[in-house]
């Protein structure tokens, strides 16, 4: 059965919507294959607008890995803006892929990558537009398998009713294994229908199929247990870890959009995982262990990625890029190779030390100076001990002053508000720190012409982190602290004028908290919010706090819980958490101990440089830290010759 393009119908709607170019596809790097030449077909979605979704690394990697398989077809789909959604509903045009404009409903797998929980309502819009039943229980063998991935899938319980399966962790090998299972099942004539294919996936022990697990609750609303409802699926589902990143040098053919997007650069992940141990950071906890990509592979990827794409910006990405064991040689080598070109190199610089500035200095050799960002995250030394962000006030000021004396006129400082045990004083110290940075910076640089920007966002406790038990602060307390901080920054007019202040309100964070640590009952809230028009919850102009509060008030009392119960309530040690049956490798006892250490302001070292502290990941996942240095350099300036293998 061939599937035809919906473009003729869609095209008639495009003159009537904003930014129609985002729906036409045709990017450099896009792949269009004949439907009938393939056996397993994936529709990959980043559930946000095209301009945000297109640059997403995860989707680009899986898109390429899948399309490299001859009998596999992968296409991309993004959330359509409400103007087009209304027209599509009115004219019967289904959710489509941008590559060949095929209806999502026709694919074997509908895979969604959730970098944030705020994309959940957009998934419901896409299912609705696609004509796929919204709940897993209502789907049959003709519907795609709705599969969730991305960091949010480490607790997919709030969307358990809507998805058929979830993959935790790295996707490169998972998508190929899933493809193999579907290929075999289809070749056998789809025996046993939908339940059978989901069962085959569940038996891998690393694909979570919510329908095979039942949740029981205690009279007080807490979870009593989560158990399999059939004997042939595992009690716990483990995350995936891709080892040896040199063997997976993707994306090789980065997509180059025709429409404007939030990042227009070639991004190379220089390592995955992070063991700095910042206690708020879910990414650092769930992506362990550290696995570096070697300097030579990074150099090769940059060279080939730029040749393919024509991008003039390269981002060397990771959770803490300055920590790469070969970062010095990598930066100087790349800076030298691209010194006489228009290529600019950047390093997300969150580490607060002078080494970071050396690297930035190196990368700006061709005169293209990128911004410097430091993330102390907490305003006081006390709160930085709580979150395990080990940097003293003196270090921070010295580092920023070094940046000013090296010619930077502007630095950005990132903080969080609403951290566990935080007081007004912890937040007010940010103002003191910013004042001191400007005062010392002016003195050292010998000019008044320096600035810093203080950016502060609300803390959201996440599953699989030591703060998974922590109570959230109420939005009105957060907002009051943010206002207090603003006043404190401006209390000295001369200093305050040199300090920019950006902040995020507390209300969206509270809802993110509900979705992050929610259980299956929260799914009813998501559905209610969507029915009331909730879309694009990550966008302040579309997010409605009152809609979420109203929906929670309508739906949750039936279960004897409420919005506060999920967000501002502190959990106890023995409470069954909704994601306990999902195994990130972290030992729950270790997480609890780290939570206790946090409250006694006891810091934890990084196992990259100090002995193992038994977080549990490596032994339980059978993985190990993979770091250099390899001893190699990025020296040869002559182009690498293509090696031809004799036939």
């Amino acid at each position: 059965m061939s599937v035809s393009s919906v473009f003729p119908q869609l095209e008639q709607l495009l003159p009537r919507v904003s930014k129609p170019i985002q729906y036409v596809g045709g990017e450099l790097g896009a792949v269009v294959k004949d439907w009938d030449d393939t056996t397993v077909r994936w529709a990959l979605m980043y559930p946000d607008a095209y301009e945000v979704g297109l640059p997403n690394q995860g989707v680009q990697i899986l898109y390429e890995v899948l399309n490299e398989q001859e009998d596999v077809l992968a296409e991309r789909t993004y959330s359509v803006w409400p103007d087009l959604e209304a027209l599509m509903k009115e004219n019967g045009v289904p959710q489509f892929t941008v590559d060949a404009h095929r209806p999502v409903k026709a694919f074997d797998v509908f895979g969604l990558s959730f970098a944030t929980e705020l994309g959940y309502t957009n998934m419901l819009s896409a299912l609705d537009l696609a004509g796929i039943p919204m709940e897993s229980a209502d789907r049959d063998v003709t519907h795609p398998i709705v599969l969730a991935g991305g960091h949010a899938s480490f607790n997919p319980e709030p969307i358990a009713d809507f998805i058929d399966a979830a993959v935790l962790g790295d996707g490169e090998e998972a998508v190929l294994e899933i493809t193999g299972i579907i290929r075999d099942w289809k070749a056998e004539g789809c025996p046993g229908g939908r339940d059978e294919i989901l069962l085959r996936l569940a038996r891998t022990e690393s694909i979570y199929v919510p329908r095979f697990y039942d949740v029981d609750y205690l009279p007080d609303g807490r979870i009593q247990r989560v158990v399999p409802n059939r004997p042939d699926v595992p009690f716990r589902v483990a995350k995936r870890t891709t080892m040896d990143l040199d063997a997976w040098p993707y994306p090789k053919k980065p997509l180059v959009p025709l429409a404007e997007t939030v990042h227009e650069r070639y991004a190379v992940e220089i390592f995955r995982g992070c063991t700095r141990g910042c206690r708020f950071c879910q990414a650092g906890m769930i992506t362990r262990p550290v696995r570096e990509r070697s300097i030579t592979t990074v150099g090769q990827m940059v060279k080939e990625g730029l040749e393919f794409s024509g991008y003039s910006e390269v981002g060397l990405l990771s959770l803490s890029s300055a920590d790469h064991s070969e970062i010095g040689d990598m930066c100087s080598g790349l800076a030298e190779q691209y010194a006489d070109t228009n290529v600019s190199l950047s390093l997300p610089s969150t580490r607060v030390d002078a080494f970071n500035i050396d690297l930035a200095q190196e990368l700006s050799r061709n005169g293209r100076r990128t911004g410097l960002t430091f993330a102390p995250e907490g305003g006081s030394e006390r709160i930085r001990k709580v979150i395990n962000k080990m940097v003293t006030k003196e270090d921070l000021i010295r580092t920023v002053v070094t940046a000013y004396t090296n010619g930077w006129r502007q630095v950005k400082l990132y903080f969080m508000c609403g951290l566990p045990s935080e007081t007004d004083e912890d937040v007010l110290e940010i103002a003191e720190m910013a004042h001191e940075v400007i005062r010392a910076g002016r003195a050292a640089a010998g000019t008044k012409d320096i600035r810093c920007t203080v950016s502060i966002g609300g803390f959201v406790p996440k599953p699989h982190t030591p703060f998974q038990w922590a109570p959230m602060e109420r939005p009105e307390v957060i907002d009051a602290r943010l206002k207090m901080l603003k006043n404190a920054i401006n209390s000295d007019r001369s200093l305050g004028r040199a300090i920019g202040y950006r902040y995020h309100d507390g209300e969206p964070s509270l809802i993110e908290g509900l979705l992050s640590r929610g259980d299956r009952r929260v799914g009813k809230v998501i559905r209610r919010v969507w029915e009331k028009g909730g879309r694009f919850d990550g966008w302040s102009e579309h997010f409605s706090y009152s809609r979420w509060v109203e929906a929670s008030t309508e739906v949750l009392p039936e279960f004897g819980v409420d919005l506060d119960w999920f967000t501002t309530r502190e959990r106890e040690e023995l409470e069954v958490l909704p994601w306990d049956h999902l195994d990130s490798g972290l030992d729950k006892d270790w997480l609890w101990q780290d939570w206790q250490d946090s409250m006694s302001e006891y810091e934890q070292d990084d196992c990259r440089w100090t002995p193992c502290f038994d977080c549990g990941v490596c032994p339980s996942m059978d993985t190990e830290i993979q770091i250099g240095p390899t001893g190699k350099k990025l020296l040869p300036l002559t182009p690498v010759t293509n090696l031809r293998v004799p036939a």
């Binding site: 003729p8 003159p15 045709g26 990017e27 450099l28 269009v32 025709l258």
Partner: protein, 215 residues
């Protein structure tokens, strides 16, 4: 390709588009000038650009701009369009076109960056006629389908095909049931005889144009 960049802190590639078609219309005749750091074979440039562009964006021809030949913008003063109106009877469209041509002035409104503007859509229209083209346009599913042939002079403010369509609505109440499909067929210098001269013709005398004058 060794594209030239502007000077300054954030250099931009030197590309300028002459009277680019508006969003949402097709075009078989867009023109642009590219600045290069050194001379390259136009045929080579054509192939390289074509390989990098999206399907449907085809580079048909490249020529070296002859010194003193004037900019592309100076060589374009009119545009030739085809307007397909699926679901509109040709006879109904013909009446509207006749009414439009008979009017001394047809005021239409459009949102511009400066806000809503009202201007005359009639004076810039050099030719507007029903085409006798027998083929149905590709992809148009609704029959009948009226097809209008339109030549518009380049004026300020620009009169675009959708302004002429607005004009047909103003003078004759023509309301196509689905958005018309508009395609630019040619642009260039308008001769007294009503022909449109390809703006690259001026450069075809140059030696480098040998291979490519076959559009």
């Amino acid at each position: 390709m060794p594209i030239a960049f502007s000077q300054g802190f954030s250099p931009h590639p030197k590309i300028s588009y002459a009277s680019a078609a508006p969003t949402g219309v097709g075009s078989e005749a867009e023109y642009l000038e590219i600045g290069l750091q050194r001379e390259v074979d136009p045929a080579e440039l054509k192939v390289a650009l074509d390989a990098a562009l999206s399907p449907g964006l085809d580079v048909l021809e490249a020529v070296l701009a002859e010194p003193g030949g004037g900019s592309l913008a100076d060589r374009i003063d009119a545009s030739h369009w085809r307007l397909e109106l699926p679901g509109v009877e040709p006879a109904v469209a013909a009446e509207a076109v006749a009414a439009f041509l008979a009017a001394p002035e047809v005021l239409v409104e459009r949102m511009t960056k400066q806000g809503r503007r009202s201007f005359d859509a009639r004076a810039a229209v050099f030719r507007c006629a029903m085409t006798d083209e027998p083929d149905l346009p590709s992809g148009a599913v609704a029959v009948p389908c009226a097809i209008i042939d339109l030549v518009v002079r380049q004026v300020i403010p620009a009169v675009r095909p959708d302004d002429v369509l607005s004009g047909l609505r103003v003078v004759a109440g023509l309301e196509p049931p689905v958005p018309p499909r508009v395609t630019r067929l040619a642009q260039g210098t308008l001769t007294a005889q009503g022909e449109i001269v390809d703006p690259l013709d001026a450069d075809h005398v140059g030696a480098s144009a040998s291979e490519s004058a076959s559009r």
